[in-house]
Amino acid sequence: MGIIRTKDLVYEYVRRDEEGNVEGFTTAVDKVDLDVQPGEFIAILGHNGSGKSTLAKHINAILNPTEGSVWVDGMDTSEEEHIWDIRQRAGMVFQNPDNQIIGQVVEEDVGFGPENMGVTTKEIWERVEESLKAVGMYEYRRHSPNKLSGGQKQRVSIAGVLAMHPKCIVLDEPTAMLDPKGRREVIRAVRALNEVEGITVVLITHYMEETIHADRVFVMDSGKIAMEGTPRQIFSQVERLQELRLDVPQVTLLAHELRRKGVGLPEGILTVEELADALAGSR
């Protein structure tokens, strides 16, 4: 069994009007089946309100399914006794860099998770050091988080999760509030976690270009998984992606338009170099 598995996962919440009367139900996640293997890099794409963040919060047992089940490392998230083991094994990084840093000094923030887990003082220091080094923030360990850039703050948050020695890490739109430079920093750190440390990554985003290194991409729409496949398979369906309110990278779009005009190009081009080479070959 995979490290993260969901079966028929449904999450509904009650909508209320101003007086607090029940207006109806909204199904945020609708019958989702997911099976993530250890060491995989999974990307979940979708526009705002597609249910991707709600899905992510189930993996960390912040939300419990209305119907169906979620297992993390073989443990059912709805069973109260596993909750802390699950949160340790599936760490989570959120969107707003300011609202998830608890410590007032970078190193103290990274130590927060291990402290909660009851790790010994000596080991906390070791973990903090290795985690900050893994995200390239070690030299900032004594800084105040308020003085860091958005990308640096997010890397500190990633280190904070890493220090808990998780098997997998879920990142819920970690780049949505960053500038291009910050986004690149964070994505680079995330890829390093996956490739060097072998940690399973679930990256939730609405930027398509951040998913090109993923092993598998899921596209969500109205709570359902609308598309699933390798980045290449996904990127080759430009029209479908646009229907799902996603922004196709210019290189993919250009290749798609050229193909439509009769230029012999393969579908699902991901990078600038690929396109240039393919065009050079087609001549």
Binding site: H47, N48, G49, S149, G150, A176, M177, D179, P180, K181, G182, H206, Y207, R245, L246, D247, P249, Q250, V251, L253, L254, E257, L258, K261, G262, V263, V272, E273, L275, A276, D277, L279, A280, S282, R283
Partner: protein
């Protein structure tokens, strides 16, 4: 309705030990009716720059002229300047506070001393201009979706009927569709009203399609100032300061390196398609008889 910045300097915490030069000898002239993109990464001084244009920050050196008048003259009506140069902040939905969208949009015009009826007319007009669906006018602003909240907030500034509209990262935090919708709406507004618009952004790709002119800010200085094509020609230098030209610029340069006769100045996907087809020896549809 031009704005001229003449050797403007701004230093944060001037007398303290941590003085930072946020603006360094900035000279700019923004003529009437232009759509300008101001690009730079976080901390480049772009937000500081626009806050000078409506007098929220006061330059520590240099002059700013609004329609030929020095705004730092003692008898210059600063409050009036704020209504004529509308500034929409980053994440503007964070300033919504009224019980419904419509009253919130009325806040600005009322502050300008308009009577109720006039303010309401302005609010209606502004809400229409930003494309807010009618049925949401009397909803609580806090119950709207992210994109709609932002529209409401933009309308709140627009209702003051400014002659110049400055938007500081109006697309931050929105999803791709939301970004495109907002940008289109702004462009439409500019075409319809002929208003001068300044769009602050960190994304070249976002603004390339819409603006007439791009001003690149770096370390408080104006690094480049010109038409998008001219600015993107410096894509290597832009890369060095942490900014990127649109992806098509890279594609076209990569093709050029491989011996294609493409026009590297194309900035949008549409233009790129044409020049690539042309280089491949196919006549683009647009030019067929």
């Amino acid at each position: 309705m031009s704005i001229i910045l003449d050797h403007v300097n701004y230093i944060y915490g001037e007398d303290g030990p941590l003085a930072v030069k946020a603006l360094d000898d900035v000279c700019l002239q923004i003529p009437d009716g232009q759509f300008v993109g101001i690009i730079g990464h976080t901390g480049s001084g772009k937000s500081t720059l626009v806050q000078h244009m409506n007098g929220l920050l006061k330059a520590t050196g240099g002059h700013i002229y609004f329609n030929g008048e020095d705004i730092y003259d003692r008898d210059f009506p600063m409050k009036k300047l704020r209504s004529r140069v509308g500034l929409v902040f980053q994440y503007p939905e964070h300033q919504l506070f009224e019980v419904d969208v419509f009253s919130d949009v009325c806040f600005g015009p009322k502050n300008l001393g308009m009577d109720k009826k006039e303010a309401e007319l302005k609010a209606f007009d502004a809400l229409r201009k930003v494309g807010m669906p009618m049925e949401l006018y009397y909803q609580s602003p806090f119950e709207l979706s992210g994109g709609q909240k932002r529209r409401a907030a933009i309308a709140g500034v627009l209702a003051m009927a400014p002659e110049i509209l400055i938007l500081d990262e109006p697309t931050a935090g929105l999803d791709p569709k939301g970004r495109e919708e907002i940008l289109r709406q702004i462009k439409e507004l500019q075409v319809q009203t002929g208003m001068t618009i300044l769009l602050v952004s960190h994304s070249m790709e976002d603004v390339a399609e819409y603006v007439d002119r791009i001003v690149v800010m770096n370390k408080g200085r104006v690094m480049y100032d010109g038409a998008p094509k001219e600015v993107f020609a410096h894509y290597r230098e832009l890369e060095e300061v942490g900014l990127a030209a649109p992806q098509v610029t890279y594609i076209l340069h990569a093709l050029k390196d491989r011996g294609f006769d493409v026009d590297v100045n194309a900035t949008t996907t549409g233009e790129a398609v044409e020049t690539v087809l042309h280089a491949l020896g196919r006549i683009p549809e647009a030019f067929r008889p």
